[in-house]
């Protein structure tokens, strides 16, 4: 149980790490960045012909192009790796103030499988590779199979919206308050939210309410994603374009 002593030391390391500066925070979009993957449906029963559709979201700087292709992830010990295939012509871009949102759809054909009785579900691993210029982003994730009759087969994705700011009328542009609204109907589902911004820093990109500091002037954008940790579902990304 040396782990206890190690974790106590963790407190000191967290303190030290917190004191280190980084000019490359998680929340800032300055290069090819995966935003999320929305599976449809959220869960399936194993049956012949069953397929998941995976919608991939990524952000890239204006003018950049993205190529998407299927990949494999054999590193996971907790899910069965299953290949996916790109839906031809499904790639598209949505232009925003300082970036473009890339979307593409992939299909995962569910092979004949049995669900282990001890866990009650089976996780299938997908892997997708995005490229933009010299940059590369490998995206992995799980979809899940549940037995026939499971309530999971009726799960719906969470909903999410940006509550604050509502428009570009922001008084204090050095400290911009961000608030999210979200909901889910899945019992026992913990939602994980993620904020992305195109400049500056966020105090806490996982918080429902946070502060956006040192945002740049001119056109800027905020992205909110909300996903279910139990279901793996993703609410469509919410994007707010601002002129600061």
């Amino acid at each position: 149980m040396n782990i206890f002593k190690q974790l106590l030391s963790l407190g000191v390391l967290v303190l030290l790490s917190a004191c280190s500066d980084t000019d490359d925070p998680f929340e800032r979009i300055q290069k090819l960045r995966a935003i999320g993957v929305a599976p449809t449906p959220i869960a399936l029963a194993p049956q012949p012909g069953a397929t998941f559709t995976l919608t991939v979201y990524a952000a890239v700087p204006l003018g950049s192009l993205v190529t998407a292709e299927s990949s494999l992830d054999d590193a996971s010990r907790y899910a069965l790796s299953v290949p996916v295939s790109l839906v031809p012509g499904s790639e598209s871009y949505t232009e925003h103030s300082t970036f473009r949102l890339f979307q593409a759809r992939f299909v995962m054909a569910v092979p004949p499988l049995e669900i282990p009785s001890d866990r009650g579900f089976l996780a299938l691993r997908y892997a997708i590779l995005l490229r933009s210029g010299d940059e590369e982003e490998k995206i992995v994730g799980n979809t899940t199979l549940y037995p026939q009759g499971s309530p999971a087969l009726g799960w719906q994705p969470p909903t999410a919206s940006i509550a604050t700011p509502l428009d570009g009328n922001i008084e204090n542009k050095q400290k911009i308050e961000l608030k999210a609204n979200f909901s889910t109907q899945i019992e026992g589902e913990n939602l994980r939210m993620s904020w992305f911004v195109t400049s500056g820093n966020l105090r806490n990109r996982r918080a429902k309410e946070t502060i956006w500091e040192k945002a740049g002037s001119g056109p800027q954008s905020v992205i909110l994603t909300v996903r279910g940790l139990k279901s793996g579902a993703l609410a469509p990304p919410q994007i707010l374009d601002l002129n600061l």
């Binding site: 407190g11 004191c19 994980r192 429902k208 996903r227």
Partner: protein, 750 residues
């Protein structure tokens, strides 16, 4: 005396002004009223204690008189002139007759003298075990990190330590592979997690014994080393109370007194941290400056009750100990599960111990020592939505009988029976230590609630004997554990060859066993068919006494450990890991004299490990190739001391991250490494640090105020303490944010 060194005088006066104290010279109480020939009783006392001082030579006119055992002297004062006071170990004092007039009795205080050069106070005791080192608390309390004697093994050969972990690694064996004891009572750990202090206050300690390997059969369930904190024996001559204020970590109170009509000793102490009160204020400023929401609340405390009664034919000791450590941590994290985006940790670790020790001479050169104890360890850990609550109550019955024969011949026969009532309530991801980047958010969780009773039984014998210049101590230990339902036998041998009066050749060879941890044999997530972890120690060394004040000790060691517990995809755990540690150590020691002591310790070691016998050996987790510690303390005069430590070691190993993938379910990046990349294949930069300190005693008539101040973590350049990555692991950088940390500690001794 003080005017000889202007720097000293300046500093002394500055501190005197700072604390509004007078410390120059000696005090004589009461002002004179008249001059004349008067009888008076003079009480000569020790400055800073108030104790009477016997056999003080007092020159009155042409007479030479001496104080009685209580430090008193009845004398008829002349009409004028001076009285002179002399005693070895104290500054001479001249007092005018005028200052002694005006009453029936007067008190005179003698100031402790500046020590004289090279008088040896304590030297290391040669012990049969070749790698055992004994450091007197007088030394350890001055130079050890935090002024805590229990930390002193970190400065000895064969020991690796890390700045932010209180644990020690002994000749490449992890902290859990060593044994920790207070006298003969086993404790799960001896260090508090913060504050650089052990769970036993230094005032209770007499010695710290440390064996880095090759120890005798009396110690089991350890394949690394043994750290033994020895309580201070003897009945105090005077009652004493000490208050200590350490800024910014903790405060303590300690009291010891003679009891049982002066034949016994009772000591009580309590310590409590207050850094948990100070840190939030500091963090509030950091949070505001950096726009963070960070909470770090470490805390600890302990309390002790100690009783000792020496008897004509033995000793009785009782120790009650309660110690706790904890940490509450909240910070923004990618793994946050709540709307506020904060991850929360809460850890609390506590241990109770009630130990009894009874030693008795039975006659016919037989003696026995029995030291039963009851202890309870409780550990509670909440991390995000996971929990680990584990604990164990144990009852140990142990004892050893010794028969002394002629010469150095001695026979030891001992046994111990420890019964554990273990308990666990866990809801955690199933660990996979084969995966260097195990992600607890993805792993399937295990829920288990178990109670378990187990016994660990051992018996041992050893026989010391000499043949001419040779000395041998063969022994054997038999172990049985119901935790793994197995028994084994560990033979061990220590030997010495007296080359000449000053040089000894020494060697040790032995087999050592360790029982796997509770979690590794747990019903739901362990493997109940595990075996003992086995280690084989081979040590060869030479010890030289150059002069009474200088000793050197050079050793070479080879250690092979098998049956290390490693994760297994089928059985959860298996005894399939192996490790090899070998190297050489040098220990050059200037023994404690009245003015100076110190040592230089150097260790060269190679530490290699593999997770199964199909692999080739790689760096182990603990592999500091070179470790150097230079330690020194100098007593400037009776009240000032100064010292410091210089530490250098090869950078710690770590497993590099070769890349990362974005996990869309969790919205975070997960590390990946190339299968060709070996665990612990990279190193942090080599590390060095210095610590300097000074102590000053302010002596009042009947009490003393001690001041210790210093700076930790001094370095010639910023030192890397750990490696950290940016969010997608595309940038690797070292954390070099530890600044020099000043501290100050006040000790009031009444």
């Amino acid at each position: 005396m003080y005017s000889k060194n202007p720097w000293y005088l300046w500093l002394g006066l500055s501190l005197s002004a700072l604390f509004n104290l007078t410390f120059l010279g000696t005090a004589v109480q009461a002002a004179p009223k008249s001059v004349g020939e008067n009888p008076v009783t003079i009480k000569v006392r020790v400055k800073g204690q108030g104790d009477g001082l016997s056999r003080v030579e007092v020159k009155v006119g042409g007479q030479k008189l001496f104080t009685d055992p209580q430090g008193e002297l009845k004398v008829t004062l002349p009409k004028e002139g001076n009285l002179e006071f002399y005693r070895r170990g104290y500054d001479p004092l001249v007092v005018s007759v005028k200052d002694l007039m005006g009453g029936d009795s007067k008190e005179v205080f003698l100031f402790p003298a500046t020590p004289s050069g090279d008088e040896i106070v304590v030297t290391g005791v040669r012990r049969p075990e070749v790698s055992r080192k004994k450091i007197a608390v007088e030394e350890a309390v001055k130079v050890a990190p935090g002024g805590d004697p229990a930390q002193v093994p970190k400065l000895l050969p064969g020991v690796q330590s890390n700045n932010f972990s209180p644990e020690v690694v002994v000749r490449g064996s992890g902290p859990q592979e060593s044994r920790y004891k207070v006298d003969d009572w086993a404790v799960p750990y001896i260090f508090h997690s913060i504050g650089n202090i052990s769970i036993i206050p230094d005032q209770l300690l007499g010695d710290v014994e440390f064996s880095s390997g090759g120890f005798g059969p009396q110690d089991g369930n350890a394949t690394g080393g043994v750290i033994s904190l020895k309580t201070k024996n003897g009945v105090p001559e005077r009652n004493q109370t000490e208050f200590r204020v350490n800024i910014p970590i903790y405060s303590s109170i300690y009291h010891e007194r003679a009891v049982s009509e002066g034949k016994g000793k009772l000591a009580v102490s309590a310590r409590r941290s207050y850094i948990e009160k100070i840190l939030p204020t500091i963090l509030k400023k950091v949070n505001e400056e950096r726009g963070m929401n960070l909470t770090v609340v470490p805390y600890f405390g302990d309390a002790h009750l100690y009783y000792e009664k020496p008897r004509d034919d033995g000793t009785v000791k009782i120790l009650g100990l309660y110690s706790y450590d904890g940490l509450r941590l909240a910070f923004p994290t990618a793994s946050a599960e709540n709307e506020d985006g904060q991850g929360r940790f809460s850890i609390k670790d506590s241990v109770y111990l009630l130990g009894f020790q009874y030693t008795k001479n039975l006659g016919d050169n037989w003696s026995i020592s029995t030291s039963p104890y009851v202890s309870d360890v409780d550990r509670k850990l909440d991390i995000l939505s996971n929990r680990i609550y584990v604990g164990a109550t144990s009852l140990a019955l142990q004892g050893e009988a010794t028969k002394r024969f002629s010469g150095k011949k001695r026979l030891f026969i001992g046994s111990e029976i420890i019964h554990y009532w273990g308990r666990a309530d866990v809801f955690v991801p199933r660990p996979d230590f084969n995966d260097p980047f195990f992600d607890f958010e993805e792993a399937p969780k295990v829920k288990s609630k178990v109670t378990q009773s187990i016994d660990e039984i051992a018996a041992w014998t050893a026989y010391d004997f000499d043949v001419g210049p040779w000395f041998f101590s063969p022994g054997v230990r038999v172990n049985h554990s119901t935790r793994i339902k197995r028994s084994d036998v560990d033979p061990r041998l220590n030997g010495r060859y007296q080359i000449n009066e000053d040089n000894q050749l020494k060697m040790a060879v032995g087999q050592y066993s360790n029982v796997p941890e509770f979690a590794e044999v747990a019903k739901d997530f362990g493997n109940q068919n595990l075996n003992f972890i086995k280690s084989y120690h081979y040590i060869l060394g030479v010890e030289t006494q150059w002069k009474p004040s200088w000793v050197t000790d050079f050793q070479a060691f080879y250690k092979e450990t098998k049956n290390l517990v490693r994760s297994d995809p089928v059985t959860n755990y298996a005894n399939k890991g192996e490790r090899i540690n070998f190297g050489a150590e040098a220990f050059i020691r200037r023994n404690l004299t009245a003015r100076l002591f110190g040592w230089l310790s150097y260790t060269y070691s190679q530490n290699r490990e593999r997770d199964n016998d199909q692999e080739t050996y790689r760096n182990s987790q603990y592999d500091q190739t070179h470790i150097l510690n230079l330690v020194g303390n100098y007593k400037l005069n009776a009240v000032w001391e100064a010292g410091g430590r210089l530490a250098y070691h090869t950078g710690d190993t770590f497993t590099p991250v070769d890349g990362a993938v974005y996990n869309a379910n969790l919205d975070k990046y997960q590390q990946r490494n190339d299968p060709k990349t070996r665990f612990f294949s990279k190193r942090l930069p080599n590390y060095h640090q210095m610590s300097v300190y000074s102590t000053r005693d302010f002596l009042y008539d009947t009490w003393k105020l001690g001041l210790r101040f210093g700076i930790e973590f001094l370095a010639f350049s910023p030192q890397a303490t750990n490696v950290q990555y940016n969010y997608d692991y595309s940038k690797e950088q070292y954390n070099t944010n530890v600044p020099p940390i000043p501290y100050i500690e006040l000790r009031g001794v009444l």
